[in-house]
Every structure is written in C-alpha cells, then in structure tokens.
C-alpha cells in the first residue's frame, strides 16, 4: 500500500501551470516580434530582428561608459526614494495621526498626486540645475505622494486595540511610533514604497530624457536621436529587468510574505 501510495502521490510538479503560461506569453511576444521584423511590413530599423537587438544588448553590457551612466541614474533614484520616502512617511504618519491635519492637507495631496510631475521639471531645473539635482528632485516629488497617502491610510487602518495596549503599558510617543504604529503599518508602507519606486524611476528617467548629459535616460534619448534603434531597445530591456528586480527586492525586504501569512 505504502508503495502504491508513493507511486500515485505526484512529486510536486517541477513547473507550476501559471509559470508555463507566463513563459508562453513571453515566447509568443518574442515570436510575434520576430515575425513582424522579418515580414518587412514595418521599417526594419523600427522593428529590428531579435538577433540584432541581442547583439546590441551584448555590446551595451560590454561598455564601461554604460555602467557610469547606470550608476548615475541608480544613485539619483536611490537618493530620491530615500528623501521622498522619509518625508512621505513622516507626512503620512502626521496626517494619519491628526484628523485636523488630514482634513486640511489631504485634498491637496489627492489632487497633486495624479498630476504629471513632469510639468514641474522646468522649475526643478531653475532650482537645482541641469545636473543630477533636478533629476533627484523629480524623483522625490514623484514618490512623495503615493508614500504619504499610503502611510496615512495605513495609519488609520491600525487596530485601535493595539494602540490601547501600548497606552496601557505607558509607552511614550517614540515607543508608540517605532514599536506599534510603524510595524502595524508595514504592509501598506511597503506597498507605498513599491508604488513610490515605480514613479521615482519614471520621474527620474523622464527628466533625464528631457534635459541631461548623463544617465540611462540620456543614453536612451541619445540612441533614439541618432536612430540607433537596436541600442535603444537594449537599453529599454535593461531598464525593465532592473525595475522588476528592484521591486522584488523591496517586497522581500519588507517581509510582505510574512504579513500575508499573519
């Protein structure tokens, strides 16, 4: 019996069905791309074959100059996320903790939040110059809003009884914030950081494509203006992969999985 049981019990499938579907989607898109590239329906330069893009990607990854630009952009995004994250979180905690402040300020946050931040770029150039300063500023104002709003919402969702427990043990304000409010808000805050990272990347890269002489955004727009399409696609692929990686990393650091189990 035990023997048959072992035979019947399926060894955990090596690949989950959903993974197969995901891989199939990628394969399909790549095949579709290649078919269009070879059909000659569109300009060969606009839709280059995969082999050409692959070669451009290898060439790009071999350039030392590329890593210098990547470093500039990564640094800008990291600083933007740091500054925007800390201020967004602080403002969110204040708004979540005070009904008066929330009612006074939140309407503005809700209206400014979805406004395309690129319209502030000229101002940022005047304030912070054409260098990385104005790119960081764009990243900051992009990620500040989702972080502040999700922190404020997270603060309000905290189970009131947990706050009572803290008060009954006579926790001071600092202990309440660090030991109760922030841990209780971890899931919405990590979510806010993820959204913030996304818009910080958008804000920074967009600013770089508008006016700059450094960074990945600059490389992309440079490749475009010299009509080097394979290189431009190679750069886009790199940005995709790095964004997904950063997003996954933040999710893991925040222990989102652990919260889900709780």
């Amino acid at each position: 019996m035990a023997e048959t049981g072992r035979l019947i019990a399926p060894a955990a499938p090596p690949i989950a069905p959903v993974t197969l579907v995901r891989v199939a989607i990628i394969v399909f898109v790549l095949l579709f791309w290649e078919a269009i590239a070879r059909s000659g329906l569109l300009f060969r330069d606009v839709v280059p074959p995969l082999t050409v893009i692959g070669q451009a990607l290898i060439a790009l990854l071999a350039e030392t100059d590329y890593y210098r630009h990547l470093g500039v952009t990564a640094g800008e995004i990291a600083i933007a996320l740091g500054v925007g994250g800390v201020t967004g979180l602080a403002v969110g905690v204040l708004l979540g903790g005070s009904r008066l402040l929330a009612r006074a300020f939140e309407p503005y946050l809700y209206y400014l939040g979805p406004t395309p931040k690129i319209i502030f770029f000229p101002i940022m150039i005047m304030w912070f110059g054409v260098g990385p300063g104005s790119k960081i500023a764009m990243g900051v104002i992009s990620c500040f809003f989702p972080l502040a709003l999700s922190a404020a919402a997270g603060m309000r969702q905290i189970d009131q009884v947990l706050i009572k427990v803290g008060r009954s043990f006579r926790a001071g304000t600092w202990a309440m914030v660090t030991k109760i409010y922030l841990p209780a808000m971890r899931a919405p805050v990590v979510n806010g950081v993820r959204l913030g990272l996304g818009v910080a990347i958008i804000g920074t890269l967009l600013a770089e494509t508008k006016l700059s002489n450094r960074g990945v955004g600059f490389l992309i727009i440079n490749a475009y203006s010299t009509f080097n399409m394979p290189r431009m696609y190679a750069l886009l692929i790199v940005v995709f992969v790095l964004s997904i990686g950063a997003n996954a990393l933040i999710g893991r650091l925040g222990g989102v999985d652990q919260i889900k189990r709780a």
Binding site: D159, V161, L162, K164, V165, G166, R167, S168, F169, R170, A171, A175, K179, I180, P183, A184, R186, Q258, I259, R261, A262
Partner: protein, 284 residues
C-alpha cells in the same frame, strides 16, 4: 435609591485595606440624541488577592468603567485609587487585558509577552527570561517562537494575559477576555486563570456579561443595572477555593447563578426593549 442602599450592605471578602477603590464614578457622553449617562455613581472596593467580577447587560457601561479604571478615558466625576494613589491615566499597578484580539501579529509569542518589559527598558536577556516564566505560567511553553497567526484564539488570549502579567500589575483588569471563545474553551481557560490567581495571589477585576464565568471565578459579583449603569447588588459567591470548572454542576453554583440571573434578567429585558424601540424608531 433602594438600589444603592442594597449595595451598601455588601458583604466584604476580606477586612484588609482595599487595594483598589472606585469612588462614586459618573461618566456621561454627548450623543446626537442628547446626553447619555453610561456610568452613574458607581462605588466599590477590591481587597488584596480578591477576585471581583462586574456583570451587567450589554449597554450598561461596563466597558466604559473598564476604560476609566484602566486610565484610558478621562473627563469623569469621582475617583479611582490604587493602593491609596489616585489614578490619572494608565497606571503601572493596573494591567489591562482586552476583549478584542490584542496580540501584536508581527511579534512572536515571547516578543509579545516581553513587550511591557521592553517599554520599561529592561535588558533583552533579562526580559526574555521573565517572559518565558509567564509563558510557562499560562501553559504555552514550546510556542515561544510562534507568531499569533499560528495559534488558536484561546492561545492568543493566553498570550495577551501573559503579556499583562509580565508587567506584574497589582490588579489584573480584564474586559470579557474570553468573549470571543467557545463555551468549553472558556471554562478551561477559567480554570487556568483560577490557578494563576491562586499561585500569584493576584488581585483580579473581571468585567463580563457571562454569569457562569463570573460565578466560576469571582469571590464577589457586582451586578450593574442597564443604562444608566448603577450598582444593583453585590453578591458574595460562597464557593470553596481552590476551585475548578467542575463546580459548575454543584447546587451551590446553580443557586448563585440563579440569584444573579434574578437580578440581571430585569435589566437585560430593559436593555432588549430599549434596543427594539430604537430599531423601531429608525425603521419608521
């Protein structure tokens, strides 16, 4: 007024100086329908080591009283004193156990129980050791590194009790601590609480709407009236100690339950009629 005079002839469990004095508490709330008096001239004492239960129908102001004694509500008339010291805000001598799920889901059992010690600034090694002692007391040894989500509701409530005991309060103040649990778990946890109380000689004040629970655990039971919440009667429970949940089948137990239900029935019916009238008004 006859009601309050009954309370004056209260039997006292012990003659020692009371450790908790609740003196003439009055608390009203402003609501859209006018002023509602939740607690109306409530006074009682708790002697050291005594187990007092406060019982009343829903809406009698029990929870308000709980929050006042715990120092979480201000703006009331009267005085609460612990060991002669007037309570203003949360007090180190009063440990609260809440009705709701109150364990921190992001902390393990031992981290939960060590929380009050952490707030008090105790060194880590020392507070972990102390927390383990109280985890053992509530019978959760072996679960120290588990998260609350991995435990049952009854186990989580024991974590909450251990956490409050870890702060070594003079008075353990509990508001419907087993309210969310099933009857059998509740009886067994009652035994646990009795054993702990016996071992620590812990003074306890239990707020409840459950007659069985009150009689099972308490030395005296204070019956409250429905809105406004006044003292209707203080009933001494003459059951021997140490007790176990087996006494629920004894005659003496039945008599105490019947006596309290006699008082409570009238109040609970008033509460029910009041609720029905409110609903009828809202529907019309």
């Amino acid at each position: 007024m006859a009601v309050t005079r009954l309370a004056d002839q209260v039997p006292r469990a012990q003659s020692a100086a009371p450790i908790l004095v609740v003196d003439d508490i009055v608390k009203s709330f402003e609501t859209p329908d006018g002023t509602v008096t939740a607690v109306d001239h409530i006074s009682f004492d708790v002697a050291p080591g005594e187990f007092l239960a406060v019982i009343g129908p829903s809406g009698c102001g029990k929870s308000t009283l709980f929050n006042i004694i715990g120092g979480l509500i201000e703006g009331y008339r009267g005085r609460v004193a612990v060991a002669g010291e007037t309570v203003r805000g949360p007090h180190a001598s009063i440990g609260m156990v809440f009705q709701e799920e109150s364990t921190f889901p992001w902390r393990t059992v031992v981290e939960n129980v060590a929380f009050p010690l952490e707030i008090a600034g105790m060194a880590k090694a020392q507070r972990i050791e102390r927390a383990r002692h109280f985890i053992d007391l509530v019978g959760l040894t072996g679960f120290e590194r588990r998260y609350p989500a991995e435990l049952s509701g009854g186990m989580r409530q024991r974590v909450a009790i251990a956490r409050t005991l870890a702060s070594e309060p003079k008075i353990l103040l509990m508001d419907e601590p087993f309210g969310a649990l099933d009857e059998q778990t509740r009886l067994l946890l009652g035994d646990k609480v009795l054993a702990i109380q016996h071992q620590l000689k812990q003074t306890c004040l239990l707020i409840t709407h459950n007659i069985t629970e009150a009689v099972q655990l308490a030395d005296r039971v204070l019956v409250m009236t429905y809105r406004p919440g006044k003292v209707k009667r203080m009933v001494a429970i003459e059951l021997p100690r140490p007790r176990s949940s087996e006494i629920v089948s004894s005659d003496a137990f039945g008599r105490s339950v019947a006596q309290i239900w006699g008082d409570l029935r009238e109040e609970a019916s008033r509460g029910m009629r009041d609720d029905e009238r409110h609903i009828a008004e809202h529907l019309s």
